[in-house]
Symmetry: C2
Subunit: 410 residues, 2 copies
């Protein structure tokens, strides 16, 4: 009989969000009248910006005529979208990129997982705790880890605890690692990293010839001008970092699907016999062979995110979510809850009141307030005793959720 | 320094189509006045069906309003699309599938490559020759093979030659294998498989507890009612086969991106210690963790492919391409060229005149006729001396290409 990839059986539990979905389903089936407010999964709720909608429709219109029909596009994305990305996301911040260094894709989740394809299993990987579960799970699935211990840490991974003591910003590991996941603004804690801190990581990576996998999916929520949006704002990062970006949260594309990944040509890995090979070429080959590019109308819609109107309209949407974040943070703080994040980030990371466990607090919020959040322990054992609320809801729902929680905690 | 996946360095050459693209680029830069007709890559050229366009637009309109906005969808695809697929592609052919057995994705190329994630590297794999290059390349990249030999066969793979002698339909291998790629109607040869032949494969797979990876991307081009569209029309296939389907050729979605893969719940694999595990659950976990679903408006467009008008309109497009295939096949046959395929399939597989090599014939057609085809040897060493022409062009281009080739060969 065909042998399965046994590594899948090491995975501890269902992926976090399906488990949350299951509990919500059970609750709503038992309580069909309850108005459940979802501030759990980081999914946007505002409509697409009008300029984006318009470009999306125009993209479809191109497919109605022989002369403008678009079939297979470049697996890496169309040049006009890549140029728009470079000119708008990177050039204004002093980062020079070549077209060949930007790879348009259908999602950062995909890219974060798929990037492991081009690395040897022998690499030692460092992952924060708490962390976006995909980093852990994809390393398990590909076979880089051993079994999980009781608290859910997989053998062979170097975990970097992100705690209140270190302000939820991971300290540089004492040992040598080869791959390091960093996510700023952070999911789930909402922590951000300044230039000095990122420079320390780049220095460490260069000194140890490690590769930083930098997840910048939430960079659009940065309002503080001192905080870098891209790892490439840090000198030397082009020799040690891959960056993941997404239109999901920037422009409401969670259901539309577009993202991109930057693999600089200066970034090298080595073979078993010590030769240096550019990671850019490997990722290009991976994408050309196992991916067929992003939907053409979606790429047109993504391009419009950076048009003057599209940009202005999206900034309003981001400001809306950031105001939600402020309302949650300040509302819960007023109720005596210790909160982190929620500025320069769409997530509020709170300490569960009374020291209850993350899942107990989840069940309490769901059953008593009809509010869905995400248990901190779902992001790793160091997240136990914490809870994530997302600012992506509708204003009136956010206000009502905060009012319900305050009343419940009073 | 981070270690790369050395398996990538075993890949023989660039992926076939980029190499063709390079030669076309060189030619057109040197001959800017030449009107090049492309019958090489299997890319569609007809506009989307009006009913599909309409549904696609309506899908976008849903994203303009808070009440109808769609964010993250199920990674497996929306139930309404899955139900539409089951009701229209499978139920009428007597195949009963559950929702949980159909996984909507952004492309068959992706799924064909990604499916290897859930299998152990120790499985022995059988691949036809000639063949869609992705089957070979993805097995190399994942590390299942050794180095390539001089003719381009990778160590450890069981190759099944598809030749004129066996009518380009692969014979059952004498040895035991665990994974078998089958593609009918075939890319590149246009060969089709009847029920008896597929039953032999299913019997072999059941007897050897092997898994058939059945690529049915071109099933829409079958006009002969005796030929199965799905491997699941064969009794027992639900216990030994995964099927890949695509909207790319069925409905002109090469630039739109939608496909689906069927993993029956009855299909099992085994662990190292001999336990049986359902492959359905593994693929579900793979997709939930490393994929984020297909663009919502794209799924709406795909659903409309099966509406009464959408279906009728698409059948006209398919008939158009099949008429192209007839023109190519009969035109070249009249010029004395030996042709295969081109009925029940959009590809014509021809013997290069005068026994020239595939790439020599490619260069001759490009330089002398300004027609682009695909060298048979690009699909594997057994394709040497053959050449693939695609029926996906515009009618007037197809007619002109055939006329040019006939004149050149006269």
């Amino acid at each position: 009989m065909a042998r399965i990839n046994d590594n899948y059986l090491k995975l501890k539990a269902g992926y976090l969000f399906p488990e949350i979905g299951r509990r919500i389903k059970n609750f709503t089936e038992a309580n069909p009248e309850a108005k459940v407010i979802r501030l759990g999964i980081g999914d946007v709720t505002r409509p697409l910006a009008p300029a984006v909608i318009e470009a999306f429709h125009r993209g479809i219109d191109d497919l109605t005529k022989v002369e403008s029909f678009m079939g297979y596009g470049p697996e890496q994305g169309y040049d006009w979208l890549i140029d728009t990305i470079i000119d708008n996301c990177f050039a204004p911040r002093g980062v020079q990129l070549k077209r060949s260094e930007v790879f348009v894709s259908d999602g950062s989740k995909c890219d974060c997982g798929n990037i492991l394809d081009i690395f040897d299993l022998g690499n030692r990987v460092a992952i924060g705790d708490p962390v976006y579960p995909v980093y852990n799970d994809t390393n398990v699935m590909v076979g880089r880890t051993g079994e999980a211990d009781e608290q859910g840490h997989y053998e062979g991974v170097v975990y970097i605890p992100c705690t209140e003591e270190n302000n939820f910003t991971p300290p540089i590991p004492a040992e040598k690692v080869d791959l390091i996941y960093l996510c700023f603004p952070n999911n789930p804690t909402g922590a951000v990293a300044g230039k000095e801190q990122l420079q320390q990581w780049v220095d460490y990576a260069l000194a140890n010839q490690a590769v930083i996998l930098f997840d910048a999916a939430y960079e659009a929520f940065i309002t503080d001008p001192a905080i870098p949006h891209s790892i490439y704002e840090i000198p030397g990062a082009e020799k040690c970092a891959i960056e993941f970006r997404s239109f999901s949260k920037t422009a409401g594309f969670t259901g539309v699907r577009c993202a991109f990944t930057v693999v600089p040509e200066a970034l090298m890995g080595k073979t078993a016999d010590g030769r240096e090979v550019a990671l850019n070429g490997l990722w290009n080959r991976r994408q050309a062979t196992k991916f067929n590019g992003v939907s053409y109308p979606v790429q047109r819609a993504a391009q419009a995110v950076y048009s003057p109107e599209g940009w202005r309209q999206n900034q309003e949407i981001i400001a809306y979510y950031l105001e939600n974040a402020r309302l949650i943070r300040e509302g819960l703080q007023a109720a005596g809850v210790t909160c982190f994040g929620g500025t320069n980030a769409p997530y509020i990371w709170l300490k569960t009141p009374g020291g209850s466990s993350s899942w107990d607090f989840f069940d309490r919020l769901l059953n008593e307030c009809h509010v869905v959040g995400t248990p901190g322990s779902g992001f790793g054992p160091a997240g136990e005793g914490y809870f994530r609320l997302s600012a992506f809801g509708q204003r009136e729902n956010v206000e009502e959720a905060v009012a319900r929680i305050r009343k419940n905690l009073a």
